[in-house]
Structures are given as C-alpha cells and as structure tokens.
Assembly symmetry: C2
Homo-oligomer: 98 residues x 2
C-alpha cells in the first residue's frame, strides 16, 4: 500500500492548482500529506474524516444499497475534493476554478 | 421569503433527473419538500443539516476568511447537491450523471 500511496501523491501533486493534499487511513490518521503537521492541520484532518463519515451515512440513509464515491465542497477561495476508497481516503484542496 | 421558496422549488423541479428536493431553514427544519414526511425523511434532513454545518466548519478551519458556497456528494446511484444561503439551504437529490 505504501508504494500505491506514494504514486497517488506524486500524480496529484503534479496537477496545476493543487494547494494541499493528504491521504488518510480508515481511522482518520494521515498516511501522507504535503501539509506541515501542526495542531491546526490535525484538526482539519479530523474534520475531513468526520465529514466523509457523515456523507457516507447520509448516502446510505437515502438508499441503504448505495455508497459514497466522491465529495466536493466549493467555497469562495478553494475546492475540497474527498475521494473515499476501500483502504484510504484521498483529499485535495485546490484553488477555486482550477 | 415564502414566495421566493415557491419559485425555487418550481424552477428546480422542472429539471430532468431531479428525484427529491427540499428547502431547509437555518435551524435545519424543512420549509418545503416534495418528499413524503416520514421519520426516515426527517432523519435525512437532520443529517443534511449536520453535513452542511460540518462542511462550513471545515472550510473555515482551512481559511477563516472563507465560506462554504456549495457541497456535492456523488454516490453509485445519486448525486446530492447542497447549496447553503443566508436564510435557507436548497437541497436536490438527482440521478447520477443527470
């Protein structure tokens, strides 16, 4: 898995407009990130983990046979892309309109 | 506001692929919906309200001057579009790929 994580990181970081990115495991712990590890970053990672859990629960509320594939938030400045997978969740923060 | 809500409902419901939709006030209570009001629907509305609060908190964690404009989840079957505004939040559930 470590090699797979490395390849994903490299591929995503080569995209124009990517500001921050992280790969989180199923327990919400960061496997890899280009962000400096500060208490604020840890809080962001926890909130991202909780957001994807809440989104998955909502999708299953609407249709128990369904499953979350992707989550995107758009704000004035940025877009946050969350892609949950079996073993880990890939998260990218990019400038709005990239 | 009631008239504004009616117009938004009509405009959105005319779009192809729209399955469910609802307009929720700032306290998470439904102003308008084409969904039958059941305990399951109430649970969905509560979870949507919590999801948009969690997303807004996350956006502000990343950049306190920023604000959430739009939230989209994509699942195998559906797309859920959440558009928070000053007074209310418009939510649409549509088929995936509509």
């Amino acid at each position: 898995m470590a090699q797979e994580v490395e390849e994903i990181m490299k591929r995503i970081q080569s995209h124009r407009g990517v500001k921050q990115m992280m790969i989180i495991n199923k327990d919400g712990l960061p496997l890899k990130t280009n962000m400096e590890m500060t208490p604020a970053t840890e809080q962001i990672i926890r909130n991202i983990h909780e957001l994807s859990i809440a989104a998955r629960r909502l999708v299953r509320d609407v249709d128990p046979t369904d499953d979350l594939m992707f989550l995107r938030t758009r704000s004035k400045n940025d877009e946050l892309l969350i892609s949950p997978d079996e073993d880990f969740t890939v998260v990218v923060i990019q400038g709005n309109g990239e």
